[in-house]
């Protein structure tokens, strides 16, 4: 049955998974250390940073938007839009330099570029998510926000978006590692993606002729879904979760192929 040297598939899976998990865990903590250090509030910056961005943007927009109609509070609207968007923006922008800064880690055989990217994505995502949770809770306490009407949709949208962002980041980081030009283009790309992402606009206010084109934008679908989860009266007309899943899958697949190819170019000192 259990001869030595012959390992069951379960064994292999289990040890592989646990190794992967500990690597990811360690890398995430390293990421926290590296980025936020130990000064003042240290690792808490992972939450404070997106929180500052999100709160300032949200406040600005809420003041401008004033009294909303149809019961969507502008505070919640902007907060949901922006704090979910920065999941993409932060991971995407970090993707540019992620591999360069972690080259030395590749000395360890079990650390792959993929692990590095995944841990960075995880840290960013959890940070933005925490910011959303904290700000939303604060809003609920003050009375300018409501508890999500359909939490499952909001959660699903965040997961989908994080996945999509991760796939895109894999692609971008592997290309950026090889071509500096690509690296230069990363930040503008994520910046220009904001207005068309649907973080601050709904399908229903767009002119009717643009909607079929916008429906091809997976981000739009994600934000419609997030808003449908957050607001009782948001429409569910433009939610295409399976389309987003498809895009995210393709992006991840492409990204995984690219990140595997990057390994050849990495010269470990």
């Amino acid at each position: 049955m259990n001869k030595p040297m012959s390992r069951s598939w379960l064994d292999i899976l289990w040890s592989g998974l646990s190794t992967q998990a500990s690597v990811i865990r360690a890398l995430s903590i390293r990421e926290l250390q590296q980025r936020f250090g130990r000064d003042n509030i240290g690792y808490l910056w992972v939450i404070a940073e997106p929180m500052m961005l999100a709160s300032v943007i949200t406040m600005l927009h809420s003041v401008v938007a004033g009294k909303s109609d149809g019961g969507m509070s502008p505070y919640t609207f902007m907060l949901t839009g922006y704090s979910i968007y920065i999941i993409f923006r932060n991971t995407f922008n970090r993707g540019e330099s992620a591999l360069h800064s972690s080259e030395t880690l590749m000395y360890h055989g079990m650390i792959s570029p993929f692990d590095i990217m995944l841990s960075k994505s995880l840290v960013e995502t959890i940070g933005c998510l925490s910011a959303l949770v904290f700000l939303q809770s604060a809003g609920i306490m003050i009375g300018v926000a409501d508890f999500p009407a359909r939490p499952i949709y909001l959660i699903g949208a965040i997961l989908l978006f994080a996945w999509f962002a991760f796939g895109m980041t894999l692609i971008v980081s592997s290309y950026a590692y090889r071509s500096p030009l690509m690296g230069r283009l990363v930040a503008p790309m994520s910046y220009f993606a904001l207005p068309i992402s649907g973080a601050f606009i709904t399908m229903s206010i767009l002119p009717a002729w643009t909607r079929p084109y916008m429906a091809w934008n997976p981000m739009m679908s994600v934000f419609e879904m997030a808003r449908y989860g957050q607001f009782q009266q948001a429409p569910s007309t433009y939610i295409f979760p399976w389309y987003v899943v498809t895009v995210a899958t393709l992006a991840s697949y492409w990204g995984l192929l690219e990140i595997r190819r990057v390994r050849k170019y990495i010269h470990v000192p």
Binding site: L32, V123, L129, I155, Q232
Partner: protein, 386 residues
């Protein structure tokens, strides 16, 4: 493997059974299992084994006016921060608010025994209403968790759902709620109709009263003066005087012509001059009747004309009031609300609530997120403690 040396590695791992492996895995991740998996399992067990079926009956309706004022774009829309198309009507909110109010609950309680509906035997202890005689506030809270009325922002259609533990209960309550909504709309219509029309009606009543008064005064005047129409009487009088004057002038001329030809003592001349004198007396008398002092036509005419002018004024006021009343009626008709049933309530057959899988998954995902956030914080804390 690349020769990793794990801390606290279990050297000589003899436990190859799946069960033992599972146990060790759970023990290694005990925090995760206690905080995420265990509550999820508890919730799943409750929903899978304990929670009673709920049946949903739903209905759609629209609340509309015959004419709706178009709302202007708000600032947010101009700045592009609008939160979506807006077809909502405030009238629908009236019904929505009412159906979710203590008022509606009280009525349902009186007519349909709401507490019994929410306390059917055989429903599980967690989801049923806990009190046999709940305070109205508690009943309202519970009711609101089972009855949902919401308006679609883009179409303006109000969607109503009722969840109860029995098919027929859901169906009955949904029908009852629709009926109550209709009653409410009708009551509002009656009020607005009354408010709009009653003031114009009052004005019209006053005007018609005045008209009657003037008419009465005129009649009594005519009776008193025994004169139907002083104006035409005066005209007749005038024409008579004119006629008389004409004959007088003619008679005088003839007399004048005669006086040169025949003597003044001739009978012909005498007769003529008498005629002239009689005519003169007549003319003087009749003229005095027209405009002399005392009871002359002129005086009668002035007081009569006063009455006529009054009557004309009052008649104008009356006509205007009548027009206004018609307008008010039309306006009230235009402002009438209608509750149009789009979809009739259905008699549910299969239970679709509670959404077991969805709820369990939501709980799991939320806990997982919470755990992830907590882990991140805890990891940081651990890093700090050397």
């Amino acid at each position: 493997m690349h020769g990793i040396v794990f801390p606290n590695a279990q050297n000589g791992d003899q436990r190859h059974t799946v069960w033992a492996r599972l146990r060790s895995m759970v023990w290694a991740n005990r925090v995760f299992f206690t905080l995420v998996i265990l509550p999820t399992v508890i919730v799943a067990l409750y929903y899978g084994l304990v929670a009673s079926n709920q049946y949903e009956s739903s209905a759609d309706f629209v609340v509309r006016r015959s004419e709706s004022p178009s709302a202007g774009a708000d600032v947010g829309q101009l700045l592009g921060f609008s939160l979506g198309g807006n077809q909502t009507s405030s009238d629908a909110y009236v019904v929505q608010e009412y159906l979710l109010s203590h008022d509606a609950v009280a009525r349902l309680q009186a007519e349909d025994n709401l507490t019994d509906v929410f306390r059917r035997s055989g429903t599980d202890w967690v989801s049923r209403l806990w009190w046999a005689n709940p305070a109205p506030e508690r009943l309202l809270k519970y009711y609101r968790s089972h009855v949902n009325v919401e308006q679609d922002g883009t179409t303006g259609i109000v969607h109503m759902t009722v969840h109860t533990f029995r098919q027929d209960d859901s169906y009955r309550i949904a029908g009852q709620l629709l009926k109550m909504g209709e009653d409410q709309i009708n009551a509002i219509n009656e009020r607005t109709y009354k408010d709009n029309v009653s003031s114009s009606q009052r004005e019209l009543d006053v005007a018609s009263q005045q008209l009657t008064d003037v008419q009465t005064r005129m009649t009594s005047y005519r009776r008193g003066e025994s004169d139907v129409d002083p104006e035409s009487t005066g005209k007749a009088q005038l024409s008579m005087v004119t006629g008389l004057t004409a004959s007088l002038v003619e008679a005088r001329a003839r007399l004048q012509a005669m006086s040169g030809v025949i003597s003044h003592n001739s009978p012909q001349y005498q007769a003529m001059s008498r005629q002239v004198a009689a005519l003169e007396a007549q003319v003087a008398g009749q003229s005095a009747k027209i405009a002399g002092p005392g009871h002359s036509v002129a005086q009668r005419l002035s007081s009569y004309e006063e009455l006529v002018i009054q009557r004309e004024q009052v008649a104008k006021v009356y006509a205007a009031a009548a027009v206004r009343l018609e307008q008010a009626k039309a306006e009230a008709k235009r402002k009438q609300l209608y509750l149009i049933r789009v979809v009739q309530p259905n008699l549910p057959v299969r239970s679709e609530f509670p959404k077991r899988g969805q709820t369990v998954f939501t709980v799991f995902a939320a806990l997982f997120f919470a755990y992830a956030i907590g882990w991140l914080l805890w990891a940081g804390v651990k890093e700090h403690s050397l």
